[in-house]
C-alpha cells in the first residue's frame, strides 16, 4: 500500500492551506530552499516570521500511517527498503551516513549493523509535531553533516488548551497484510502545566505482492508510547520532560537473512525553554538527553533449508548528550543563532554462530566503539533590503572516536596495528541568498562547505555483512573525513492559483567514503556465501547533482492538482555511477472535494535506473513502474466530537513492482484496501 490516511491528509493539508490563502504555502516554500518542515500536528509557532521560514504543511490526521509513508511523500526523500517496516530514509541519493537524523535535536544511533533500525523506525507520526528536513549545512542544522538530515520534532503537551481533557482514539485495518492498528492520545492541560500521552500498537502479517505471492518474513509488530509534560515556572521559563519508548517485536526483513525478535528504544530528555518576545535574547532552549537501544537480531524463524548456519547478532546503542540553542535578534532585520552541543555514543554489536558440527563461534562485529562529539555553531540571518535576505553560518565540531574495551581493541588488532583513537575536526560553513524579484518570482542560491567524520562502522566495522553488494565490510581507522562543496539554486514562481518551485543542486565530494574490494588471496569472507571482503576507503572525489520540481494548481473550487518530481545523478571520479541513486520519480495527485467528502487519485511513477555500476558498487538496474492509488474520506462533526472515516485502495491495478532502492529487489505490496477511523474529543 502507499498511504491510507495520508492522501486524505494531503487533501486536508491542501484544503486548510487554501483556506489560509495561497500565499502562505508559496512564500513558505520560497524561503526554505535549504530546509522544509512537514507539520504533522498543529503546533504553536513562536518567534518571528522571518526566522520561521518553514510553514509548509498544516494537517493533523495522518497519525495512523507508518512514518515511512509520510517520508515517501516528501519531495527528494527516498527509502531504502529491507522489509515492510523500518525503511531507511535518504535525501537526494546521499547515503545514510551523509545525513544526520535526530529526534527533537537528540542524537540517536541505530543498534543494528544491518541498518534494520533507522532512527525513523523509533518514532511514530502519533509522537510527532513535524518532520524538519535539512538539505545541507544551514541555520537549523543539528550537527555536522554533508547533506543535512531529518529532525523529528516531538509533539509537546500544550499549555492552556481550550479543553482540560482532550484526545483521540483511532483504529485502522489493511486487507493486504491483515495489518491492524489501534492508537490513542490524551492531553491534560492547565495554564501552568500540561501532560500529553500517546500510544500506538501495530501488528501486520506477511504482505502479498502484485503477483499474488506472499512475501515471507515481512511481518511486524510494535508498541510505541510517549509521554510529554510541560511546567511553566513563570511566564518566560518552561521545563519539558519527554519520554518515548518503542518496542518492536517479531519484525521480518525479507531482503535480509535475519529478522528481529525485539528492537527496543528508550528515549528521554529534560529541557528548559526561555522565551521572551521583544528581547534581544528571545529564545533559549537547552536539553539534556539519554537514549538506549537494544536490538536482538536472529534467524530463529527461518527454515533450516534457507540457513547455512544459525546465528545471533544482538547489538546495543547508548547515547548521552546535551544541546543549548540561543536565538537572538538585533532590531527587526537581523537574527543570530548560537548553538552548543555535545554527545557520546557507545555501540556494541556481536555475532554468535552455531555450526552443525564444531564449536560455536563468537566475534564482535562492532567492537565497543565510542564517539564523543562537541560542536559549536553560529548562524546569522539578515534582511539586507525588503527583497534580499542573506543567511550565513559557521559550525565547528570535534569528534573523538575510540574503542572502550580491551576485547574490542584485541579484535581489531588483527586488521589494524596503529592507535585506534581517532580525532576529526570538522568545519561547516554556508551562505544562502534569497531575492524576491517581484510578487511572482523569487530566486535563491547558496554555497556550503560541509564535512562529516567517518561513522563507527566506517572506522571499526569487523566483517559486517552487507546484503546489498554481498560483501563483508572491514572498517578503516585511517579513513579521512569526507568533505563536500554544496551548491543550490532555486526559483519560485507563483500566480494566484498556481505555484511552481524548482530546485537545482550539486554536491561535490572530496574523500568520498565507500567500500573497495580487498584481495581475495589475503582476505576471505566470514559470511558463508559472501562474495568477498571490502574495506572502507576514501575515493578522490564524487558528485551528486539533481533537481526537484514541485507544481501546485488550484483548478477550481473542487479540484486541486499537485505534482512532485525529483531526480538525482551521481558518479565517482572514475565516472562509475554511484549506488542507491533514485531515478526520476514523479508523484501526481488530483483531489476532488465537495460537501465534506474528499476523493483523490494519485499516480506515482519512477523511470528505470540503468545508470548503475556492477563491478565496483555491485548494483543492478531497476525497471520503471506505474502505480495508481485511490482514496476517499469524510469528516463528521457531532456536537463537540469529530469523526474521521477514510477508505483507500492502493495499487489499484495490482502491479508487481519494486523500487531502485529496494534491497534484493523484492516486490512491494500488491493491491491493498485500507480503512481507518478516528475519533477526536
Amino acid at each position: 500500500m502507499r498511504d491510507d490516511t495520508f492522501y486524505f491528509d494531503m487533501r486536508r493539508i491542501i484544503i486548510t492551506t487554501l483556506l489560509l490563502g495561497y500565499a502562505t504555502i508559496a512564500s513558505a516554500q520560497t524561503d526554505s530552499t535549504e530546509h522544509s518542515n512537514v507539520l504533522i500536528q498543529e503546533v504553536t509557532v513562536h518567534g518571528d516570521k522571518l526566522n520561521e521560514d518553514n510553514l509548509e504543511f498544516k494537517q493533523k490526521d495522518n497519525v495512523q500511517v507508518l512514518i515511512d509513508k509520510m517520508l515517501y511523500n516528501i519531495n527528494g526523500v527516498s527509502l531504502i527498503k529491507r522489509g515492510n517496516y523500518a525503511q531507511e530514509p535518504i535525501i537526494r541519493g546521499l547515503n545514510p551516513s551523509q545525513i544526520n537524523t535526530t529526534v527533537d535535536g537528540m542524537q540517536i544511533f541505530g543498534a543494528c549493523t544491518d541498518h534494520m533500525d533507522p532512527i525513523s523506525s523509533y518514532v511514530e507520526p502519533n509522537n510527532l509535531s513535524s518532520i524538519r528536513l535539512q538539505l545541507g549545512p544551514n541555520s537549523e542544522q543539528v550537527g555536522a553533516s554533508i547533506g543535512g538530515g531529518f529532525d523529528f520534532k516531538l509533539n509537546k503537551a500544550k499549555l492552556g488548551a481550550d479543553k482540560f481533557v482532550s484526545g483521540t482514539i483511532g483504529t485502522g485495518y489493511e486487507a493486504n497484510a491483515s495489518a491492524f492498528r489501534v492508537l490513542g492520545s490524551i492531553q491534560l492541560s492547565k495554564k501552568r502545566w500540561a501532560v500529553r500521552a500517546n500510544s500506538i500498537y501495530r501488528k501486520s502479517q506477511n504482505y502479498t505482492d502484485g503477483n499474488g505471492r506472499e512475501i515471507h518474513f515481512s511481518q511486524y509488530e510494535k508498541l510505541n508510547f510517549g509521554v510529554s509534560s510541560v511546567f511553566a515556572l513563570n511566564e518566560n521559563n518552561f521545563i519539558y520532560l519527554d519520554y518515548l519508548q518503542d518496542d518492536g517485536r517479531d519484525i521480518g526483513y525479507p531482503a535480509l537473512t535475519m529478522d528481529v525478535s525485539f528492537a527496543n528504544a528508550k528515549i528521554g530528555s529534560i529541557s528548559h525553554v526561555y522565551k521572551k518576545t521583544g528581547k534581544t535574547l528571545y529564545l533559549l532552549e537547552s536539553k539534556i538527553y539519554a537514549n538506549y537501544i537494544d536490538h536482538a537480531m536472529d534467524d530463529s524463524k527461518r527454515p533450516d533449508s534457507l540457513i547455512a548456519m544459525r546465528m545471533d547478532m544482538p547489538g546495543t546503542s547508548s547515547t548521552f548528550g546535551f544541546y543549548s540553542n540561543a536565538s537572538l535578534r538585533f532590531g527587526k532585520k537581523h537574527f543570530v543563532k548560537f548553538k552548543l552541543n555535545g554527545y557520546s555514543n557507545d555501540l556494541h554489536a556481536e555475532m554468535t554462530m552455531y555450526p552443525l558440527i564444531g564449536a560455536e563461534m563468537f566475534m564482535l562485529t562492532l567492537p565497543d566503539t565510542r564517539r564523543t562529539v562537541g560542536g559549536i555553531d553560529l548562524s546569522d540571518k539578515i534582511l539586507i533590503t525588503e527583497k534580499l535576505k542573506l543567511s550565513t553560518g559557521i559550525r565547528f565540531d570535534y569528534v573523538l572516536s575510540s574503542i572502550t574495551t580491551e576485547m574490542g581493541r584485541q579484535t581489531l588488532s588483527g586488521i589494524y596495528s596503529g592507535d585506534l583513537d581517532k580525532n576529526h575536526y570538522l568545519l561547516n560553513v554556508f551562505t544562502q541568498l534569497n531575492y524576491k524579484l517581484n510578487k511572482k518570482l523569487s530566486v535563491s542560491g547558496g554555497v556550503a562547505k560541509a564535512m562529516r567524520a567517518p561513522n563507527a562502522q566506517e572506522l571499526y566495522a569487523f566483517y559486517l555483512f552487507n546484503r546489498f553488494d554481498n560483501y563483508d565490510y572491514l572498517g578503516n581507522p585511517d579513513i579521512k573525513q569526507e568533505e563536500s562543496w554544496n551548491f543550490n539554486i532555486s526559483a519560485n514562481y507563483r500566480l494566484k492559483k498556481l505555484v511552481l518551485t524548482t530546485k537545482v543542486f550539486a554536491y561535490y565530494f572530496k574523500n568520498y567514503i565507500t567500500g573497495a574490494k580487498l584481495p581475495s588471496s589475503e582476505y576471505s569472507a566470514m559470511t558463508i556465501g559472501a562474495s568477498g571482503v571490502k574495506q572502507y576507503v576514501n575515493l578522490d572525489n564524487a558528485i551528486i547533482a539533481g533537481a526537484e520540481v514541485g507544481f501546485k494548481w488550484k483548478i477550481n473550487k473542487n479540484f486541486f492538482f499537485s505534482s512532485m518530481n525529483a531526480f538525482s545523478y551521481g558518479e565517482d571520479y572514475k565516472h562509475r555511477a554511484l549506488f542507491m541513486i533514485p531515478p526520476l520519480k514523479s508523484i501526481n495527485t488530483i483531489v476532488y472535494s465537495m460537501k465534506g467528502y474528499n476523493f483523490s487519485l494519485k499516480y506515482t511513477t519512477a523511470m528505470a535506473q540503468n545508470n548503475i555500476d556492477y563491478d565496483f558498487y555491485g548494483e543492478n538496474s531497476t525497471r520503471e513502474f506505474n502505480l495508481f492509488d485511490l482514496s476517499a474520506g469524510k469528516t463528521f462533526k457531532v456536537k463537540r466530537f469529530k469523526y474521521d472515516v477514510n477508505i483507500a485502495l492502493d495499487n489499484i491495478f495490482n502491479v508487481p513492482y519494486y523500487e531502485h532502492l529496494d534491497v534484493m529487489k523484492i516486490n512491494r505490496q500488491g493491491r491493498n484496501l485500507l480503512v481507518s477511523l478516528k475519533f477526536t474529543f
Binding site: 548521552f320 576485547m407 588483527g414
Partner: protein
C-alpha cells in the same frame, strides 16, 4: 548564557560518569608458566633427595607441557644448583619410545627447575613414565597423560622420509585478534632421540573449517632458537581453528600440510 554553562557542566558530568568500562583480557606469551604450578607427584631418589614434580595444570595431556621440579635433600633443604635431567618413556608393551623434551634448569622467578616434555600420545596406548635424575640419582614418576581436546601435537613424515614432530607451546590464552603463537619442531632420529630442527621455515595458514574461511595479516613463524618457531596468528572469531603449516627446508617443501587444531 547561564543556561548554556549549566548545560555544559551537566553534560560534562554525564560524560565523565560513564567513562571506563574496560573488561580486561589476559594476554600471555605461549609457554610462560601458569601463575601457580600444580603439584603432580613426589618421589625419592636413590640418594634420598625428595623430588616433587609440578605442571601448569593438574591433568597432563598430550602435546607440549611445561614440567617443573623441586629438589630437597634428606634434611628438607631446597637444592637449587643440581643437574636435573628428564627421561620420558612410553612403554607400549611391544615397544618403547621417548619423546621430545628439554632438560630443566633452575628458574629463580618460580623457584623451580623448569623444562618441557612433548607427550606424543596419551596413556591409553601404554604407560608413560618420567625419569628425573638429580646429579645422576634417579626418581621415576608414572604419569597419566590425557588426550588433549584438540590436536596440539602431530607426527608428519616429510618428503625426505624423516618423521617430524610439530607441537604448540602451552599454556596459551587465545583472544580474538592478533596472538603470539609458538611451535616446536623436532625430528625423530631414533625411538629414543628427538633433536630440535633449527633450519626450517614455515608458512602458516589459519583456517576456520566449520565456516571455510581464513584470516588476514598472519605472520609466519620463524626459528628463534632450539627448535622454537615464533609467529603471529589472527583469529577473527572464537571457535575451531586449524593452523596449517607448510614446512620448508632450504626452499624445498618438506611437508605441505602439517596442521594443529585450536579451540577457544
Amino acid at each position: 548564557m547561564k543556561k548554556i554553562i549549566v548545560g555544559v557542566l551537566m553534560s560534562a558530568l554525564v560524560f565523565t560518569s560513564c567513562n571506563k568500562d574496560d573488561d580486561e583480557t589476559v594476554v600471555t606469551t605461549p609457554g610462560t608458566p601458569a601463575p601457580t604450578q600444580v603439584e603432580i607427584a613426589t618421589a625419592t631418589t636413590s640418594n634420598n633427595e625428595t623430588v616433587t614434580l609440578y605442571a601448569d595444570e593438574s591433568q597432563l595431556s598430550t602435546g607440549y607441557e611445561n614440567m617443573y621440579v623441586t629438589v630437597k635433600d634428606a634434611s628438607g633443604n631446597a637444592i637449587e644448583d643440581a643437574t636435573v635431567e628428564f627421561a620420558p618413556l612410553m612403554d607400549m608393551g611391544t615397544m618403547q619410545h621417548a619423546c621430545p623434551f628439554v632438560n630443566p634448569t633452575f628458574d629463580n622467578t618460580i623457584n623451580k627447575y623448569k623444562g618441557y616434555v612433548v607427550y606424543t600420545m596419551s596413556s591409553m596406548g601404554g604407560t608413560w613414565t618420567l625419569g628425573v635424575s638429580v646429579n645422576g640419582n634417579l626418581a621415576t614418576f608414572t604419569l597419566n597423560i590425557a588426550d588433549s581436546p584438540t590436536k596440539v601435537v602431530g607426527n608428519y613424515t616429510g618428503t625426505d622420509g624423516v618423521t617430524y614432530i610439530v607441537s604448540l607451546l602451552r599454556p596459551v590464552t587465545w583472544n580474538v585478534g592478533m596472538n603470539d603463537v609458538e611451535f616446536l619442531l623436532h625430528t625423530k632420529a631414533s625411538m629414543m632421540s628427538f633433536p630440535a630442527v633449527t633450519d626450517f621455515t614455515m608458512v602458516m595458514t589459519p583456517w576456520m573449517t566449520s565456516m571455510n574461511h581464513g584470516s588476514p595479516n598472519n605472520i609466519d613463524p620463524v626459528h628463534v632458537g632450539n627448535g622454537h618457531y615464533n609467529g603471529e596468528v589472527n583469529f577473527t572469531m572464537t571457535g575451531d581453528w586449524r593452523l596449517h603449516l607448510q614446512l620448508n627446508q632450504n626452499g624445498t617443501e618438506i611437508h605441505s600440510d602439517a596442521f594443529l587444531d585450536i579451540l577457544f
